[in-house]
Amino acid sequence: MELNGAQIVVQSLIDEGVEYIFGYPGGAVLHLYDAIFQQEELKHILVRHEQGATHAADGYARATGKPGVVLVTSGPGATNAVTGIATAYLDSIPLVVISGQVSLPVIGSDAFQEVDMVGITRPCVKHNFLVKDVTKLAETIKKAFYVATSGRPGPVVIDIPKDITAPNIKVPYSYPETVSIRSYNPVVTGHKGQIKKAVDLLLSAKRPIIYSGGGVVLGEASEQLIEFTRALGYPITNTLMGLGSYPATDKQNVGMLGMHGTYEANMAMHESDVIIAIGARFDDRVTGKLDLFCPYAKIIHIDIDPASISKTVRVAIPIVGDVKQVLEQMLGMIKESSIQIDTEALAQWWKQISEWQAINCLEFDRSSPLIKPQYVIEQLYEVTQGEAYVTSDVGQHQMWAAQYYKFNKPRRWINSGGLGTMGFGLPAAIGVKLAFPEANVACVTGEASIQMCIQELSTALQYKTPIKILNLNNRYMGMVRQWQEFSYESRYSHSYMDTIPEFVKLAEAYGHVGMRIDKPEEVRPTLETAFAMKDRTVFIDIMTDRTENVYPMIEAGKGHHDMKLRVAIGTSTDRELA
C-alpha cells in the first residue's frame, strides 16, 4: 500500500488502535487535517485551546490506561500544548503528542510559526522525535507509542515538518507490529535475592506500614496490592496519586499521607520500623522535611524506574521492577516463608493506630449555616455511590476531593499531582467522559482554576459529554490564601479576584445548565437533580465558606509527627478573615 505522509500518520494511529485524537488545526498540519477529513475511523475532538487538548487526552489516558493522543500545529499550537505535556510528564501519564513543524528546508530560519518544539519539550517529555524522512514515519509513530506506554510511562512528542506530510509524496506503508530500541529495555522482573530480603524484613516488622502510590495505578496492580496487604494485615497509606488503588473504605487503609494526609497515616509513617514503598516516589509533599522523615524505619522500595530509588530518601532494600510482577513474586514468597508475623506486636501497633484515628482529623463543622466544602464532597460521594470518575483542578478543593471522596477503585481519581496544573479538571473530565459515556463524571473545581480552561465548556457541548462541574466557590484562591494566612500574617496578596463571572450565565451561554446554591440544605437535592440530567452538562456554582482551610497540614520544614490540626470544631464558623 502506498500512502502519503499525512495518510501514514492517520493510518498508523488507526492501526495502533487509537480511538480519539484531541487537536486543533493550523498551517503546519493542514495536510494531516485533510487526511483526517477523509476517513471516519479515527475520531477527532476539536478543543478550544491546545492546553485543553493535552489535558483531555491525559484524562482519557488516566481513566482508561491507554495512551492519549494529541495533534497540534507548529509555533503557538505547540507551545500551548507544553503545559499539558509537562502535566503528563510529572505524573507519568502516557501521551503521544504530534506537533506540526515548518518544512525541513526552512527549519532554523525563524520561519512563520516556527519554534524548536523538540528543544522546548526536551526536559518535559520521556522522549521526542523530529521526523526527517517520510519512510521513517510509521516506525517513529510505533516507537513513540512503545516508549510512552512501557516502563515508567510518559509523554512523547513527534514533531513532523509539513513537507513530510505532503500529499504528492507517496511511499509504501506498513505499520510495524513490534518495535525494539536497543538503548531502551525497561526492567520488569524484580531481583529474586532482593525480593527475598524484602520479604524477610517485612515479616519481621513490629510496626510496619505499606506506602503505595501512582505506580500501582499505572502498573494495573491494584488487585495484587489488595491481596498483598490483606495477606499481611498491615496498615496501608496511599499518596494522592495512589488513591483508589487500595479501597478507601477498607479498614486496613489509614488514608492519604503527606502534607494534607491523615493524622494516623503520617503518625504511623513516623513511628514505623519497616516501610514498603510501592510505586511511590518520596515526593516532597509526602516526606515533609527530609531530615525528620521516618527516623526509625528501614525502607523497602519497589519502582520500575531506577532513578526514583534513593533519589531523595536512601532505602535499605531497592527493588527495580514492575509492581505487579514484584508483588506477585513477593506474595509467593510470603506464603512459603517460615517467618511468623509477630501478631502480638502487630495488634499493639493497630491499637496505637486506632488511638491516632480517634482524633478524627477529618471531622469538620456540620452545623455551620454556610456550605462546608467537605460536606459537598461527602454528598457527591453519596449521590454517586462512590462510583463516579472525579477530576479536579488545583487548590483546596482538590485536597478536599482527595480527602472526602472515598475512592474504592483505581483510575477514578483524576488530578494533576506533580505539576499541580490549574485548568486541568474540565478538559480532563471531557476526556474521561468520552472514554466512559455511561459513567458519572464530576469535575471538582474552584472559581479560579475553572477560569483557566473554561473555554472547553464549548467542546463539552459539541461532543455531548455531559459532565457535572462542582465549582467550590470560596471567592478566593483558597490554597494561596491559606498559605498567606499561615505564613505571611494574613497578607492576602492577590489571592482574591475583585471580579468573578456569573457562572450560571456563563454555563448557559455555553449551552449548558447552570445552578447556584449557597445553603447547606440545597447541596444534596441540587446534586441529585444535576446527576439526574443524564444528557446535560451541569455547572453548579457552590458558594462555600470562604474561610475554610485544609486540615490536617504539615507546614514547610516540619516532620510527619508535627501536624497542624483543625482548630476546635465550632470556632471556625463565621470566622472573620483578618
Binding site: V118, G119, R122, P123, K126, H127, L130, V147, I181, R182, S183, Y184, D305, P306, A307, S310, K311, R314
Partner: protein, 163 residues
C-alpha cells in the same frame, strides 16, 4: 569526588543536547565533555567529567541511563582506567627563549607542530595533571592561547564499553 563517565549513545542529532540539558536542568556540574562518533557510525562516544558525592553520581548515572538515546555507560572512576587529554598551546617566542621552550616541551614529551618567526604551537597529550603541570611550567606571559580537549578515557584489561 571526581568521576569520569563514558557514554555510548545513538549518533543522532539532539542526543548531545539531551545530555547537556539533563545536567543543566538537574543542576549537576560538567567539568568537561568530549564526543565523537565511534568505529560503529551509528554510535557516538561521550566522555564526561563531573563531580559530586556518591548520591549525586548515582542519580547522574541513573538519569543518563534513562535517556532513550543512551545505549550504555560506565563510570571509569570505578575501575582501573587510562585517561588522556590533548593540549595545544600557542606561545610567543623570542629568539633567546626558543631553546628553553623546546627543551621544556621535550621533557613533557610534547611536540612542536607549528613554527613562525615569533610563535610555536605545542601539542601534548597525557593525563590532565600533566598538562596542568606543563602550563604551570611555562611563562604565563608567553601563552597566546591554549586549547584543551577535556579528558577522555578507556578502562584497562578485557572489560570495556561496547555493545
Amino acid at each position: 569526588m571526581r568521576h569520569i563517565i563514558s557514554i555510548l549513545m545513538e549518533n543522532e542529532s539532539g542526543a548531545l543536547s539531551r545530555v547537556a540539558g539533563l545536567f543543566s536542568a538537574r543542576g549537576y556540574n560538567i567539568e568537561s565533555l568530549t564526543v565523537a562518533p565511534t568505529e560503529d557510525p551509528s554510535l557516538s562516544r561521550m566522555t564526561l567529567v563531573t563531580r559530586g558525592n556518591d548520591d549525586i553520581i548515582e542519580q547522574i548515572t541513573k538519569q543518563l541511563n534513562k535517556l532513550i538515546d543512551v545505549v550504555k555507560l560506565i563510570d571509569l572512576a570505578d575501575s582501573f582506567h587510562i585517561e588522556r587529554e590533548l593540549l595545544m598551546v600557542k606561545v610567543k617566542t623570542s629568539p633567546e627563549m626558543r631553546d628553553e621552550i623546546r627543551s621544556m616541551t621535550d621533557i613533557f614529551r610534547g611536540k612542536i607542530i607549528d613554527v613562525t618567526p615569533t610563535t610555536y604551537i605545542i601539542e601534548m597529550t597525557g593525563p590532565s595533571e600533566k598538562l596542568d603541570a606543563f602550563i604551570a611550567a611555562i611563562d604565563p606571559e608567553s601563552i597566546i592561547e591554549a586549547v584543551r580537549s577535556g579528558p577522555t578515557g578507556i578502562s584497562r584489561g578485557e572489560l570495556g564499553l561496547h555493545l
